[in-house]
Symmetry: C2
Subunit: 161 residues, 2 copies
Amino acid sequence: MSEGLPTSTEQPRWLSPDELATWRRFTFLMYRLPTALEAQLRQDSQLSFVEYYALAALSEQPGHRMRMGDLAVLANSELSRLSHLISRLEKRGFVRREPDPTNGRCIHAVLTDAGHAHLVEAAPGHVAEVRKLVYDVLDPNELDGLRTAAEKIIDCIDSRQ
Amino acid sequence: MSEGLPTSTEQPRWLSPDELATWRRFTFLMYRLPTALEAQLRQDSQLSFVEYYALAALSEQPGHRMRMGDLAVLANSELSRLSHLISRLEKRGFVRREPDPTNGRCIHAVLTDAGHAHLVEAAPGHVAEVRKLVYDVLDPNELDGLRTAAEKIIDCIDSRQ
DNA sequence: TCCTATCGATTGAACTTTCAACTATCACGC
DNA sequence: GCGTGATAGTTGAAAGTTCAATCGATAGGA
């Protein structure tokens, strides 16, 4: 059913045609942009979007290491998903697991040298793609708007538990 | 690796700290918003985001029917994904397949009465969620900016094949 | 007419994500 | 010290997606 035309007798606050058009463009973007970026990453570096950002997050930590739970937050993943993902990266030799000496419950994901090297190879191509698809296309004003909008929506989601 | 600090000798056009911050917020949004919307849809209507928009697209067509390929475009899916998805919806009685009499290669996905009824049940809750998370949060100016930004990025992606 | 290429769609296998159940460790009150 | 509950992470199965192979229908040329 179209969100533009009420056919139920329930809530009356449907989207206006204009709002609907914006929504369609935006959902399309939320699908297409990740797809486009992943295509480049897979092609050139055999990495998915999440894998790249997991490695990237590790590379920014002192000691190239991080607790699984913290990494899950940075990589926008649930713990279970991250655990599987790290297992796969471990098999490829990009990451290893080490127990946290200060807390027996915690596990550190540690970037290996091979993993770091792979990331260093992958980063320029990925960043170039982000530039081409986003930063070269929007002017600073539009970028700022995007950031504000993103922050507002995220705050709203966060504020509901 | 951080996109903010070059460690490779290749391309020099890294993101500035400001650009990087914007990018992080935006990727976070691209993950969180669909997740939040899907949570509501699954909870209240046992539908995924794609399933909802596939049913919605069908409901807007004359005869509540559409060729698989066209539906794939509207639902932001590849044909294979859509084929599996329609099979699942078919099992639940929301959709059926019919051959296209005008072209033996084509198949129509047809919304059943049960499927339409389910969509009518689902729509108000979903639209309310979109309102709450997006339209109630952004002012018309910001919405407009979002739309322009989305259009520009999509155009850019489309223009590269 | 036949041969080939292309199109629209399906299929099954491989892969990834999700979900629920489980293990192990720690924190706290008693 | 000893249960009880919360925390951190893993695991396996189920669900969903992606990829490559396939199949039938059609279009276009020799």
